[in-house]
């Protein structure tokens, strides 16, 4: 489920790619694992250094000392730190992340498999929207450099980037929901249609497609519109700026002048030659944006009551749900490593100068 596209891409490249590339992928994976291990260890200890305690904070004023002791005992929080650490690492290795320390004490794997698809379902179309708007807008602005369209896009990128997500989301909700009454403003799907959805991948759009549940698909799309636009637009600001700068820089390259000297038309120079080259640094940025994307997702998920991963992490950090936080961060780290590897591989596919 997690990072499926990246895994598919890597698997494909691994099978079809050159020995060098295969070697490179293995090397990178080999380097990733110890990195994730170190990170997981750090998170383990940092969480325990933080003041506050999962049991106390869940019970609030209600827990008697005996009760707290009993629950701590059950959760293994009274074991020596090293025993807890060993158990944590053991769990990681078997990809069984253990149980949450708060609320229902559900298996983290269950909780993540509900939350992660929600985030993916939000983040994927948002990224696509951000990329479409960002790349097209940036390129268009670059091709109209120092003309009105350029200034408008630059203003757009600054304004949109500095807009707080919760504010933009609220405006969207008020405008397209409460005022214009076009769209729903909360949740992933209409609650009643939601009853009919079969939970296969937990990506509702995919599940609806797989089961041919068209009303559900329509509902999912309707619910996606506002959060996607909110997150996508906010993210697009950076892409507009990055693309614009890179396209402008590329347009000044010698090979563009050389192509112009061959009579290649301006449109082709911009969209055919400059854009493809400018995309190379932008692709790197996309990889780096993953963290920002997740941060943006936290806010978007909150505003639109989207039961995703970002909110989950925030909730669990404040509740000191050690196992949940450790697991989520480990999974995030793996995901970021995976995506950055995928980005590097894409990089090598786009840029023929990069070969492994």
């Amino acid at each position: 489920m997690i990072g499926v596209p990246a895994v598919v891409l890597l698997a494909y490249v691994f099978i079809r790619g050159s020995t060098g590339l295969r070697h490179y992928i293995l090397t990178r994976i080999g380097l990733t694992l110890p990195m994730v291990f170190i990170l997981a260890t750090l998170v383990f200890f940092i969480m325990r250094v933080l003041p506050g305690d999962p049991v106390r904070s869940a019970l609030g004023p209600k827990g008697s000392p005996e009760m707290i002791q009993q629950i701590r005992e059950q959760l293994g929080l009274n074991d020596p730190m090293i025993v807890q650490y060993g158990r944590f690492i053991g769990n990681m290795v078997t990809l069984d992340f253990g149980n949450s320390l708060i609320g229902g004490h559900r298996p983290i794997v269950d909780e993540m498999s509900e939350r992660f698809p929600a985030t993916l379902e939000l983040v994927i179309p948002s990224s696509i929207l951000a990329l479409l708007v960002g790349i097209w807008g940036g390129t268009f602005a670059a091709s109209r450099r120092k003309r009105t369209a350029d200034y408008l896009w630059r203003i757009y990128s600054v304004v949109i980037y500095s807009l707080p997500i919760f504010w933009l989301g609220l405006v969207m909700q008020l405008l397209f929901g409460v005022q214009l009454k076009w769209l729903p403003i909360s949740g992933r799907i209409d609650p009643i249609i939601g009853i009919s959805i079969e939970h296969i991948t937990n990506l509702y759009a995919v599940d609806a497609l797989l089961t041919g549940n068209w009303p559900a698909l329509v509902s999912v799309m309707q619910h996606l519109v506002l959060p996607t636009i909110t997150l996508g637009l906010v993210l697009s600001g950076v892409f507009v700026r990055m693309t614009r700068i890179n396209v402008i820089e590329t347009l000044q390259a010698d090979y563009i002048a050389a192509a112009r000297a061959r009579g290649i038309r301006e449109r082709m120079l911009v969209y055919g030659h400059a854009l493809k080259n400018a995309m190379i640094p932008v692709i790197t940025l996309i990889g780096l944006q993953v963290a920002i994307l997740l941060a943006g997702a936290v806010l978007t998920e909150t505003v639109f009551s989207w039961p995703g991963m970002g909110r989950y992490l925030v909730e669990r950090i404040s509740a000191r749900d050690y196992t949940a936080v450790q697991s989520v961060i480990t999974v995030f780290a793996l995901l970021v490593a995976l995506i950055s590897l995928a980005v590097d591989v894409i990089y090598s596919l786009v840029d023929p100068r990069v070969r492994y």
């Binding site: 070697h23 090397t27 080999g30 380097l31």
Partner: protein, 349 residues
Amino acid sequence: MAEPKPITNGVAVPAADSDDMVRVETLRKHFPVQSGFLASLVNRGHIPAVKAVDGVSFTIRKGEVFGLAGESGSGKSTVGRLILGLLEPTEGRVVFDGTDLGSLAPEAMRKMRSRMQVIFQDPLASLNPRMTIGEAISHPVRIHITRQPEEGRRVVNEILNKVGLAPAEQFYDKYPHQISGGQRQRVVIARALVTAPDLVVADEPIAMADVSVRALLLDLMMRLKEELNLTYLFITHDLATAKYVCDRIAIMYLGKMCEVGPLADVYEYSCHPYTRALLEAVPVPDPRHRRKEPMPAGEIPSAINPPPGCHFHPRCPIARENCSVDEPDLRELRPGHFVACHYAEDLLK
């Protein structure tokens, strides 16, 4: 070590001599193509490497201008950096005025550095754009000469005047972008010479300068050599310019030395087909003497997998069968004139 002593790979190691400023002994520098901790673990034993310098020996005598010429990729600049101690040799050693640089502790090496200076090709790249000319030159002065500001300023002004940036006061507070390219290269020369070094490695020092300025810069360098009693290692791809400054010259091809000797000998009686081609290729500024001879086929191969035997054999007009097998030694064909070619005698005729 009084006698020339052949070593395994067939490169003669010159005898030690107190007149030697620099002695380079079977120097090698291989740059691994892949790097990284894990990659080196995985590839242990057979890491592909660029053999930038692959067994080079020569001496630079005190007070001479020793030219090092070759095309890009021949390894000439790498030799310069190895001599300066900017790179660690993979093999072999560099002896500077009797001291093996490899044996020096970092502090001793730092001291030794003040005795050798470098002038690079691009003056704009070698000057900090946010540092005035006076500051740029004061820097080595403070490290190696004096910490007193007044004294330091006097020393800087003196060298500025010496390199023709007069009146010095007028240039002291200027930034690199405020002066012309030729003047910038003079600043670089001044900075190199202010510590009164023994050896100056000039790596294509005039390649970026305009034609009308080149002669002035060369003249300046030669004048300062006499005044300050310098030794030059003059690295260049321009054999025409080398002719005007070098006492001896070495020609490199793919990390190896083809030919070395007194400049006049090498130019007049070049005994290596590559040297010949190189000399022939230099365009002559005279339309009455246009070149007729064809150039060697192909281009310089990769230094990762150089051809076996004589590296030049695939392009050589006189190559015979054994050239692709036997690597020619550098041998003394005429007094002081060494050539690495099995059939050099044929060219002597």
